[in-house]
Symmetry: D2
Subunit: 293 residues, 4 copies
C-alpha cells in the first residue's frame, strides 16, 4: 500500500524499516530532513512538508514526540490536515493525551478521513525488530482494515475501544513503567546499602514471580552505569505529566505514581533529560548517597 | 536424611510434602498440632514440642510466621535451641529481619550448630510444586552442604552472602512486590475511571516489556473480585514493617515503598487482614470510589 | 469611586460589603442574579451583564470561581472585555493560574486598560470583616493607585512583582494550606489511635512554636464533626490542581504537596465536594478506620 | 527543693538555669562532665555518676538524647535506678517512644518511686527563657505535685493522661513539625522557581491564617543560608523514626509524614546531621536544582 510515515525518531525509524520490508510504498517526512536519508536509500520517498507527504497516501501514519509536535505537524501550516483527502486513514502512533486523539478524530472526520489512535509499547529494539505492542482506539471496522499494516510492526495488537482508548491505555501502561523504575531504584539502593551485591539481586529479580523484563533491561545497564538512551528521560517526564493530567481529568488518586513523577522531575533538574529513562534512579541515588554498582 | 520441619502454614506444608517425596525422614511440629495430621498420614513423625522435634534430626528447618514465633519456637521454653546438639544444621526459611537471623546464628554457634537463613519467594502454588526461589545467607560451605535438600523445594537457589543476607534479599524482593501491588492498583483504577475495560488492560500487561507474573496472577483474581488467600494481607503488612525497619537501619530513602505501606495499613484497618495481599488494592478503590471489575 | 464588582460568592460578597461601607459607588453582577439583592438593598446597582456592569466604572474588580468562569465572564460574550474602555483599571481577585493573569493583562492592554492580579488569602470571616491578606502582581505604579481601594478589604497587602506574581503567591500559599490540612489530619488520627484526647491535642497545637491559626480553626470544627462550608473542598481540589500545574510548569518537585492532592481527590470521590475543605481529613479517617472526636 | 538534673544538652542546660534561678538546690550530671562546669559556677553540685546524682534528691529530672541514653543512664550500671529510693519522683523530659516511658514507670514503681513522662516542645531559646511547652503523662496527683517545679521552665503545661501520653503527644507534635518543614521547603522552592522573591513570600507567610512561628523562624534563617543548630537534624531523624514506629504500633496511616521522613533521611545522607533541622530543606533543594535565597 501507499503509506506516508511522519516522524523518524527512534520509534518511527524502526517502524518505517519494517513497513518497507513488508513491501509497502513509503513516503517519509521528518522535521530535521536528514533523518530521512537512510530510508530513502532503502527505497522510501522523501517529502518536504507533511502536506506533501500525505497527498498520495492511502494510509497516513505518524509517531511524533509530543502535543506540540502534533499541533505543528497535524494542525499547522502545511500540516497533515492541509494535505489529506477523503478516503484516507490516519493512524497516530504518538504518546499523547486521549483528548488530543479525540481532537484529531474530529478534525479528520470533517475531511472524510477515518482515524485511529495506535500508540505503541516497546522501545528502540522492539521497534527495529517489529516486536512492538500496539494499543488501538477508534472504530472497530477501521481497526480491522489497518490491522494487516500494523502486524509486521508488532508482536501483539490490542483493540481497546473507541477513539482515545489507545492513547489512554498507553498512559496507563507507562504509569506502570514509571512505578517499576521507582521500585527498581528504591529496592536496589536498599539492597546495596544493606550489603547485598547488586548483580546478585538482579539475578533474583530475573526469576521470581515478580520479575519483569524491565528489571532485567534497566537493571543490567544500571549496574554498568550505562545510561545511553533507549527511551529518553525527557519523554518519561512528558509521559508522567500526561498521566498526571489523565488522573486529574478522572479525579483518580495515584499517590505512588504521582510521587514517582517527582523523582523524574528531580532527575531532569540534574540535567539528565537526554539520558535513558533509567537515569531517574540517579536522582534516588543522590538522596541515598550511594551508587548502585 | 533425618529432617525436622517446624511450622506447617501454607509455605511449610508445601515444603514438607516435597521433602517427604524426596525420600527424607521428616519429623514435624506445628503450634496447632492438627495441621500435622495430613503429613503424618503421608509418613511424617509428629513431635509434641520443638525441642522434641529436633532431638534426632540432622537438619532442622522451619518457616515461622514472624519474629514472635521465632522468639517462642526457637528461643522459648521447649524451643529448638533447648533440643539441638552439636553437628546439626539449622535453616530458617521464615521472613524475618536480618538481625533476627544474626541472633539465631550466634545462639546456634554457641551450641556448635551451623545456621543459614534461607527465606523463600513464591507462595502457595510454588511451595506445593517445589517451585520456590530460595535466597540464602550464611557460610558458603554450609550452604553447599544443604543445597541438595533445598533443590527439590525450589526452581532456583541463590547464595547471597554472609548470615542475614538471605533475609535481607527477601525483604528487598518483597519491597518490589509491595510496589507492584500498589502500581497495579493505581493503574487499574486509573484505567477503569478513564473508560478502559479492566480485562483488556490485563491482556496488555500480560505481554509488554513491563509485564510481570504478579500482574497476571493478582490481576485476574482482582477482576473476579476473588480475594481468597494465597499470601495473606497481614503478612504483607508484617513484611512492609520489616522493610521499613531495614530501610531505617540503613538510612535508605524509600519514598514510594513507604507510601505503599500506608496503603496496606489502610486495608488492614478495613478488616481485610486474612484476605489475599491483593486486598490492599481495595483500599485504593475506596479512595477512588470505584471497583475494578 | 465608581467600582464594578463581579462575582458574589462567599469572598466577593464580603468585599462588596466593605467597598460599600468605604463609600464607593458599586455596581454588582453575578451569574445567578438573586445573589445581588442584599447588596442592592444596601445601595449597590445591579447590572444584567458583565459588559453592562463595567461600562461606567473606574475600577473593575472580580472574584470568580475558576478558569472557566474567567473565560466566560472576562473573555466571553457580553463579557468584561466587551464593555471596558481605555483608562479603567481591572483587578482580578480570583485564584487562577498565573498564565491566566498574563492572558488577561495582554487582553486588557490591547484596550488601554491597566490590570493587576490580586488574589486574596482568608475565607468567609476575613472577607466579611475586611481582614483579608491580598497578594498583588502587576505594574508597581498601578498597584499604588488601587491600594487605597484594597485597604478597607484587608489586613495586609503585599506587592509580589510583575503580572502573575500575585496569582503565583496565592498558589504557593495554598500549597502550604493543603500541606497543613494533611498534616493536621494525619497527626490527629495518630493521636487518637495512640490514645490521646483530640481536644487536648488541639490545646497543645494552640500554643507551641508550630501552632497555626488553621489548626485552631479546622481543628475545633473537626472534633465537633462540623464540616459546614467556609472554603469548599471542591475549591481546594481546584487549587491543588492549579498548584500541580504550576509545579509542572517549573519542573518543581513537590512530593508531599502532590500526595496531599491525592487525599483531596479521594474526599471528592466520597462526595464531599460542597463541604468544608477540612472534609479532606475524612478521607484520611476512612483509611485509618476511626473518627477524630 | 533538692533536684537532680541529668543531661545537659541544649535543652537540659536551659532548664537547669531556670531551676537554679527558681531557688532549687540542683545536682547535675552529664556524660561529658565539663558541660557541668558553667552550672557549678552558678551554684549547682556536680555528681560523678547518675546514681550519685540522684541519691539525695527529692525530684529526679532528666532530658536525654535517645533510647540508648535512657538505657545507659536510667537502666545501666551506676544508673539512676541503682541510686534511687522510695518517695522520690522521677520526671523524664526526653523525647522517647511511649513504651520506653512505660518501661521506666514500671521499673520505678518497683522501687516505690513515682514517675511522669514530661517531654517538652520548644528548642534552645524557649528552654533558656523558661518558655517551653510541657506535655505530661502519668498519675494526675503526681503531676499536680511536680507542677510547681515545671512552671518556671515553661509557658504552658498540659496534662495528657496516663503514663506514656506525654511521650505520645510529643511525637504527635513533632509529626506536625516535620510536615511543616517539608511544606515550607516545597513551597519556598516552588515560589523561587516560579519567580517570587523568597523574602516576600516569608512576609506573606508571616501574616495569613496558615502562618506559623516555625515558618518565621526557619524561613528567615533559610534565606540567609544559616543552618546553625537550634535543633539538630539528627534529632529530627530520630524523632521521625520514633513517629514511624508509633504509627506502626497503632497501624495509623501517615502518608505525608512518612514521606517527610524520607527527605530527612536524604539530608542525613548528605552529611548534614549536626546542622539545624531546617537542613532537611537542602535535600529538597538538591532535587530542585536551586537554592532558596
Amino acid at each position: 500500500m501507499k503509506i506516508a510515515y511522519l516522524g523518524l525518531g527512534i520509534m518511527g525509524s524502526g517502524m518505517v524499516g519494517n513497513l518497507l520490508q513488508a513491501g509497502h510504498s513509503v513516503t517519509v517526512w521528518n522535521r530535521t530532513p536528514d533523518r530521512c536519508t537512510p530510508w530513502v536509500e532503502k527505497g522510501a520517498t522523501q517529502a518536504n512538508t507533511p502536506a506533501q507527504a500525505v497527498a498520495n497516501a492511502e494510509i497516513v501514519m505518524y509517531c511524533l514526540s509530543n502535543e506540540e509536535a502534533i499541533a505543528d505537524t497535524v494542525f499547522g501550516e502545511d500540516g497533515i490536515l492541509s494535505g489529506v483527502h477523503q478516503g484516507q486513514i490516519a493512524i497516530d502512533m504518538s504518546t499523547v493525551h486521549p483528548n488530543t486523539s479525540r481532537r484529531e478524530a474530529v478534525a479528520y472526520a470533517e475531511k472524510g478521513i477515518e482515524f485511529i489512535d495506535a500508540p505503541v509499547f516497546g522501545s528502540k529494539n522492539e521497534s527495529a525488530a517489529g516486536g512492538l505492542w500496539i494499543v488501538v482506539g477508534g472504530k472497530k471496522e477501521v481497526f480491522e482494515k489497518v490491522k494487516p499494516i500494523l502486524e509486521p510492526l508488532s508482536e501483539t495488537i490490542h483493540y481497546m475501544g473507541e477513539t482515545g482508548m489507545g492513547a489512554t491505555m498507553k498512559l496507563v501502561g507507562n504509569a506502570v513503567v514509571i512505578s517499576q523504575i521507582e521500585a527498581l531504584g528504591e529496592a536496589m539502593i536498599l539492597a546495596k546499602k544493606a550489603g547485598l551485591n547488586p548483580q546478585d539481586v538482579l539475578d533474583v529479580l530475573h526469576v521470581t514471580d515478580f520479575k519483569s523484563p524491565i528489571f532485567d533491561g534497566m537493571g543490567s545497564t544500571l549496574v554498568k552505569r550505562d545510561f545511553s538512551t533507549s527511551f529518553a528521560l525527557k519523554w518519561l517526564l512528558k509521559d508522567a505529566n500526561l498521566i498526571a493530567q489523565l488522573a486529574q481529568d478522572n479525579n483518580s488518586p495515584i499517590p505512588a505514581i504521582a510521587l514517582a513523577r517527582e523523582t523524574v522531575k528531580a532527575a531532569v533538574n540534574h540535567g539528565w533529560s537526554e539520558e535513558n529513562a533509567s537515569a531517574a534512579i540517579k536522582a534516588l541515588e543522590l538522596q541515598a548517597g550511594i551508587e548502585i554498582k
